[in-house]
C-alpha cells in the first residue's frame, strides 16, 4: 500500500519534471543555506570542547559598563572572586604573549600562553612526555620551564625523546623543556608554547595590576547564569570598596568558544533569523506549490473519497511527494553545504595572522547531521502534511456535484494573499538590511585609513624583554634598524611605529591638563589610540600634517616630552582654543612620576583597527619612539624598483643587529589591512548570498502564488469579459490587487527594513544618504517583482478566448 503510494508519487513527480526540479532546488537552497549558517556559528561559538568535563569549563572575563567582552580581569579582583564565588572551582588563568624562540634556522616568533599551573588539569589532559606545571613554577625566581606542543616538538626537536633534557632559548633566556602535550592539543586557542604565569598578589597595586583571562570549572549542577549572579554581587562589592579603579567594572563567565560572543550578538541573531526565514520561505513556497497542485487534483481526490479511500491514504500519498522532494533537495543542499563548510576554513584562516582556534573545525559533525535531519523532517511536515491536511479536508460532495472549489477556493485565496504579503515583507526587510551590511563592508574596505599603503611591505619585530630592558636599548635598536634598512637599495623609505595606520593599536586613557575629571573613577578619563613612531615616519606614511610640526631630531632627548595628536583628538578635547602647546598625560603613569606631554603638532585622523563605529573615530596620540620606546614594533617599507630583495634584506639586517630577534607577519601593507576588514567582507558576502537566495525564493514564491491566484480566477476573467470588460480593464484590476498586496506587505517591510538598516547604519557609520538610496533601490526591486508577477500571469490568462476561459478548470 505504502509502496503503491510511493510509486504513485514518483509518477506524479516525473510527469511534471519542471515542477519537481523547481521545488527540489528551492528545498536544496533553503535546507543547504540554513544548515550551513547554523553549523558555521555552532563551530565558532557553541561547540563543546572535546575534553573530559569540557562542558563545565568556563572562562571568567571582565565586563566594562555592562559590555561583556573578552576583557582581562584584574588579578586582585580575580583573587577576590576565587575566595568568594562558590559556583566555580579549580580556578586558573592565563595571558597571551608573543615570544621569540631562538632556533637553529634563526629566531622565530611564537604566540605563547603564560598560564597558571593548573591549565592542563583544567582540560583533564596529561603531557605525553614529562610533566605538567607545578605550583612552584609560579613562584618568581624559580627555574625557567616550558611545556611545548606536539607540533613544535616535531618541528623543532624532530620528535626526539631526549627533548626533556634539552632547553629552549625563549625571549633570550634559557628554559628547560619539562613537558610535551599530545598531538592537536592547542588549549586555550592555538598554543604551542606554555610558560608559567607568575603573579604575586601581595606585590600588586590596584592601579597598575596584572590582568589575566580567568579559567575555571562550574561546580556540579551550577549554571553559568547562577555564577554570573554571584559574580556581579562580588564585583559590586569591590566596586564599592574601590570606586577609583573599579567603577563600571564587573565580570562574567562564558564558554570558551563563546567568549566575546555577546559583542557580535546582534549580527549573530540577525544571521540566524535570516537563515530561519530562508528555510521558512522555501518550505512555504514548496508547501504552497504542493497545495495548489493538490487542489488542482481536487476532483480526482473527491473521486477517490467516493470510492472509499480513507483520508490517511490521501495524506500518505501527498506526504510521499513532499518526502521525495525534501529528501532529494535536502541531499543536494547537504552536499553543497558540506562543500561550503570545507572551503570555509581556508577562507576564515585568512582573517587571522595566527592559526585558528582549535575547535574551529568546519565540516560535518554530529551537530550538523542532527540539525540537518531535524530540519529535513520539519520541512517534510510543513511542505507535506499541512497541505495534505488542508486539501483532503474539503467538502467532496460539493466538488463532485458542481465542480466548484467553493469555500475552499476562498480560504486558499486568503492564504495566498497572506503568503504574498509576508513574502513581500520578508524580502524588503532582508534586502534593505543586507544591502546596508554590504554597503558598510564596501565603505569599510575603501575607507581612508589616513596612510598610503601602496607598494609597501610590513613586518613586526619583537624585542625580548630580558635583553631590551631599558628605554635606551630599545631606542637604540629602533634607530639602528631604521638607518640600516634605509641603506638598502631595495627599500625607498622605512617607517617604524608601534602601530601603523589601519592596524590595531593599544588604547590608553589620557588626562588633559586643566580639565576636571570625576575623582571617583578612572573610567571617566577619555581614551585614545596610543602610538609611538620614529620621527619622520608619519610624513613618509602620508599622514598629513594639519598644524604645528612633525617630530624632528629635537624630540630625540627626554628633556621635553612631546606628542602629535590627531585632528579628531584636537577637535574633541580642544574644540575652541586649539591643541598646539597644550599638555596631557597618560592616566596609567604612576602618581609619583607624572610626565606631562606637550602637543607640538596635529596630523590627520587615522583609523586604527576596526573600520566602523566608535573604533573608527577613536582619536590618537603619537609619541616619538625615541622618547617612548616599546618592545613590539611594526616596520613599513616602501619598496623601490628592486623591491624583491627587501624581505631578505630585512631578515639579514635583523640578524646583523641581534641574532635573537624575530620578524614576523611579513606581508604587503595592503594585505595586512585587508585582513582587518576580511571578517566584515566575509559576513557581508554571506549575508548577500543569503539575501539573494531569500529574494529569489520570495520572488519565485510571489510569482508562484500570484500565477496560481490568477489562474484560479481564469473563469472569473471569462465571466467578466463576457459581461464586456476589456483586457485593459482586467489587467488593471489585477495590478491594483497586486499593488494592494504591495502596500500591505511593503509598508511594514520598509518600516522594519528601514529600522534595521538604520540601526546597522548607525552601528557601522554608514551615511544616511546611502541608506535612503538603498531603501529606494530595494523597494523598486520588490515593486518590480510584484508587478511582473502580476502582469505576466494576467497576460497569460487573457490569451485565452473568453469562451475558453469560461470553461477553464
Amino acid at each position: 500500500m505504502i509502496w503503491q503510494d510511493f510509486k504513485y508519487a514518483i509518477r506524479l513527480l516525473s510527469k511534471k519534471p519542471g515542477f519537481t526540479a523547481l521545488t527540489t532546488l528551492v528545498m536544496a537552497t533553503g535546507i543547504g543555506l540554513s544548515v550551513y549558517m547554523f553549523s558555521f556559528f555552532h563551530t565558532i561559538l557553541f561547540k563543546d570542547l572535546n575534553f573530559q568535563d569540557g562542558a563545565s569549563l568556563v572562562m571568567v572575563s571582565g565586563s566594562i559598563n555592562g559590555k561583556e567582552d573578552a576583557y582581562r580581569i584584574n588579578a586582585l579582583d580575580y583573587a577576590e572572586i576565587k575566595s568568594s564565588v562558590k559556583g566555580l572551582k579549580e580556578y586558573g588563568g592565563y595571558n597571551n604573549a608573543n615570544v621569540v624562540v631562538s632556533a637553529t634556522e634563526g629566531a622565530i616568533r611564537f604566540p605563547a600562553i603564560m598560564a597558571q599551573a593548573n591549565i592542563f588539569q583544567l582540560t583533564r589532559t596529561k603531557p605525553i612526555l614529562g610533566r605538567e606545571f607545578r605550583a612552584e613554577d609560579e613562584k618568581a625566581g624559580s627555574e625557567k620551564v616550558v611545556v611545548i606542543g606536539y607540533e613544535l616538538w616535531q618541528n623543532q626537536f624532530s620528535g626526539e625523546n631526549d627533548v626533556l633534557k634539552q632547553n629552549m632559548r625563549i625571549n633570550g633566556e634559557k628554559h628547560n623543556v619539562v613537558g610535551v602535550m599530545p598531538q592537536g592539543y592547542l588549549f586555550p586557542r592555538n598554543a604551542q608554547i606554555w610558560l608559567p604565569l607568575q603573579i604575586d598578589p601581595k606585590q600588586l597595586v590596584r592601579e597598575n595590576s596584572t590582568t589575566l583571562h580567568g579559567l575555571a570549572h562550574l561546580e556540579d549542577g551550577v549554571t553559568m547564569a547562577e555564577v554570573n549572579r554571584e559574580l556581579s554581587v562580588v564585583m559590586k562589592r569591590i566596586e564599592n570598596q574601590h570606586p577609583q579603579t573599579n567603577t563600571g567594572i564587573s565580570a562574567h563567565v562564558t564558554s570558551i568558544p563563546g567568549v566575546g560572543g555577546a559583542d557580535g550578538a546582534p549580527v549573530i541573531y540577525t544571521m540566524h533569523t535570516v537563515a530561519l526565514l530562508i528555510l521558512l520561505l522555501a518550505s512555504i513556497n514548496v508547501g504552497n506549490l504542493l497545495l495548489s497542485r493538490a487542489l488542482e487534483r481536487g476532483k480526482e481526490t473527491a473521486i477517490r473519497v467516493a470510492l472509499g479511500a480513507p483520508r490517511s491514504r490521501l495524506i500518505s500519498q501527498m506526504l510521499w511527494e513532499s518526502t521525495i522532494i525534501c529528501t532529494l533537495g535536502g541531499m543536494i543542499g547537504f552536499l553543497v553545504m558540506a562543500w561550503g563548510l570545507e572551503i570555509t576554513e581556508p577562507i576564515v584562516a585568512t582573517f587571522f595572522a595566527d592559526p585558528l582556534a582549535f575547535w574551529w573545525d568546519f565540516g560535518i559533525d554530529t551537530y550538523t547531521v542532527t540539525l540537518f535531519l531535524t530540519i529535513l523532517i520539519s520541512t517534510i511536515f510543513v511542505t507535506g502534511f499541512l497541505p495534505a491536511w488542508r486539501s483532503t479536508g474539503g467538502d467532496f460532495n460539493a466538488v463532485l456535484r458542481d465542480g466548484t472549489r467553493g469555500a475552499q477556493g476562498k480560504k486558499a485565496g486568503r492564504l495566498n494573499r497572506f503568503l504574498v504579503i509576508s513574502e513581500i515583507f520578508i524580502s524588503m526587510t532582508v534586502l534593505i538590511s543586507s544591502a546596508v551590511m554590504v554597503q558598510s563592508a564596501y565603505e569599510q574596505t575603501n575607507s581612508d585609513m589616513g596612510a598610503d599603503t601602496e607598494n609597501s611591505l610590513v613586518a613586526s619585530v619583537l624585542l625580548p624583554a630580558a635583553n631590551y630592558d631599558t628605554d635606551a636599548k630599545k631606542a637604540h635598536f629602533a634607530k639602528t634598524l631604521q638607518s640600516r634598512l634605509e641603506n638598502s637599495a631595495s627599500i625607498e623609505a622605512v617607517m617604524l611605529a608601534t602601530s601603523l595606520p589601519g592596524h590595531y593599536s593599544s588604547i590608553s586613557k589620557v588626562i588633559i591638563e586643566g580639565k576636571e575629571y570625576s575623582k571617583d573613577s578612572n573610567n571617566s578619563y577619555p581614551s585614545a589610540n596610543d602610538i609611538a613612531t620614529m620621527p619622520g615616519s608619519l610624513a613618509k606614511l602620508g599622514v598629513e600634517l594639519r598644524q604645528g610640526r612633525y617630530f624632528n631630531n629635537s624630540d630625540d632627548g627626554l628633556a621635553k616630552a612631546t606628542a602629535l595628536v590627531s585632528e579628531s583628538f584636537a577637535k574633541r578635547h580642544f574644540p575652541e582654543q586649539g591643541a598646539l602647546g597644550k599638555r596631557f598625560r597618560l592616566a596609567k603613569t604612576a602618581q609619583d612620576n607624572i610626565e606631562w606631554v606637550t602637543i607640538v603638532g596635529i596630523v590627520e585622523h587615522t583609523i586604527q583597527g576596526n573600520r566602523d563605529g566608535d573604533a573608527a573615530s577613536m582619536p590618537a596620540i603619537y609619541r616619538p619612539l625615541t622618547q617612548a620606546p616599546r618592545n613590539q614594533l611594526t616596520i613599513a617599507m616602501q619598496l623601490s624598483s628592486k623591491g624583491s630583495l627587501a624581505v631578505q634584506h630585512l631578515r639579514k639586517t635583523l640578524q646583523g643587529i641581534d641574532s635573537e630577534l624575530a620578524s614576523y607577519r611579513i606581508e604587503t601593507y595592503q594585505a595586512s589591512n585587508d585582513r582587518i576588514t576580511a571578517p566584515v567582507v566575509f559576513i557581508s558576502s554571506l549575508t548577500a548570498i543569503f539575501a539573494i537566495a531569500g529574494v529569489v525564493l520570495a520572488a519565485s514564491g510571489i510569482y508562484g502564488v500570484m500565477a496560481n491566484m490568477i489562474s484560479q480566477r481564469t473563469q472569473e476573467i471569462g465571466i467578466k469579459r463576457a459581461l464586456g470588460a476589456d483586457e485593459q480593464r482586467i489587467s488593471r484590476e489585477f495590478v491594483f490587487a497586486g499593488v494592494k498586496l504591495l502596500l500591505w506587505g511593503g509598508i511594514p517591510g520598509i518600516l522594519a527594513g528601514g529600522f534595521m538598516g538604520f540601526a546597522m547604519a548607525q552601528m557601522f557609520g554608514t551615511s544616511y544618504s546611502s541608506l535612503v538610496l538603498i531603501v529606494i533601490i530595494m523597494v523598486s526591486i520588490v515593486v518590480a517583482t510584484v508587478l511582473v508577477a502580476t502582469y505576466l500571469p494576467t497576460k497569460n490568462a487573457l490569451r485565452l478566448e473568453p469562451s475558453q476561459a469560461l470553461h477553464y478548470e
Binding site: K410, Q715, A722, G724, A725, R729, S803
Partner: protein, 241 residues
C-alpha cells in the same frame, strides 16, 4: 430599416488541439430577427455552445460572415468586441457564473461598471429595476453562496438584462436546476420575450424548446431543421441544409 438583428453566412469553426482538428461548426447560415425567441437543440457535442459563443462574440469564427445589427463584426478589435458584448449582449449560463466575492447587487451592477456613460445613481436605478423584474430585490445584499440555484440563476438573468441588451443568449439556463426552479426561470424568459426582448437559447429540454417562437436543430455542426411555431413569426430565409 430591416428587423434583422443577426446575420450569419457560411460560418465555420474549427478547433485545433494537439494535432486534432475539430470541426465544431461546419457551415452555418442563419438570420435572427428582433423580438424572436429562438431555441437551439441538438445532441451533446453538436456545436450548440460554440454557435452561441460566436453569436456572443466570446470567440471568433474560422470562416464566414457575422453581421450584428447590420454591422460586420467578424473582424473587429478585441476592445470593440468587449464593448459590444457589454452593450448589446446579455449572457445566461448553465452554471450561473456569478462572482462569489461580490454580493447580488454588485454582481448585477458589474456589466454597468464597464460603461463610462452611467452615473452611480443611474446604475443603482438600473440594478434596482432588474432585480425587481426577477423578483430578487429582497436578496440584494446576499452573496451567491447564500442563495439556491434557482435564485442564483434569477440573479444571472437580472445581470443579463440590466444593460438593456439587444439580445439575450442563454446556454442551457435550466440545466443545473430542478424542474420547479427551471419552470420559474423559463417563465421569466417568457416575460422578457413578451416585453420585446430577443432571446436565443440553447436547450436540451423539449418542453423548454416549446416555449420558443422558433426551433433550430443542429447536428454535427450544421442546421438540420429550422421551423417557426407561431404564425406571427416574421419570415425567415433560413434553409435547412
Amino acid at each position: 430599416m430591416s428587423d434583422t438583428l443577426i446575420k450569419l453566412e457560411n460560418i465555420q469553426k474549427v478547433f485545433f488541439t494537439d494535432e486534432v482538428e475539430t470541426h465544431a461548426l461546419a457551415d452555418i447560415t442563419l438570420t435572427i430577427n428582433k423580438g424572436e425567441y429562438v431555441s437551439i437543440s441538438g445532441p451533446s457535442g453538436c456545436g450548440k455552445s460554440t454557435l452561441l459563443s460566436l453569436l456572443g462574440l466570446l470567440d471568433a469564427s474560422t470562416e464566414g460572415l457575422y453581421q450584428l445589427a447590420e454591422h460586420d463584426v467578424s473582424n473587429i478589435s478585441k476592445k470593440e468586441r468587449a464593448r459590444i458584448r457589454n452593450m448589446e449582449i446579455g449572457f445566461i449560463f448553465q452554471s450561473f457564473n456569478l462572482i462569489s466575492d461580490l454580493d447580488v447587487e454588485e454582481n448585477v451592477e458589474l456589466p454597468l461598471t464597464y460603461r463610462k456613460d452611467l452615473s452611480k445613481d443611474q446604475r443603482k436605478a438600473m440594478v434596482k429595476e432588474a432585480l425587481e423584474k426577477v423578483n430578487m430585490s429582497h436578496r440584494s445584499k446576499h452573496f451567491p453562496s447564500q442563495l439556491s440555484g434557482g435564485q442564483q440563476q434569477r440573479i444571472a438573468v437580472a445581470r443579463a438584462i440590466v444593460g438593456k441588451p439587444s439580445i439575450i443568449l442563454a446556454d442551457e439556463p435550466t440545466g443545473n436546476l430542478d424542474s420547479k426552479n427551471a419552470e420559474a426561470v423559463m417563465e421569466l424568459l417568457d416575460l422578457l420575450h413578451a416585453e420585446g426582448a430577443t432571446i436565443c437559447m440553447v436547450t436540451h429540454d423539449p418542453r423548454s424548446a416549446q416555449r420558443a417562437s422558433r426551433n433550430i436543430d443542429i447536428l454535427d455542426g450544421q442546421v438540420i431543421s429550422d421551423n417557426s411555431l407561431t404564425k406571427e413569426n416574421k419570415s425567415s430565409d433560413t434553409v435547412a441544409a
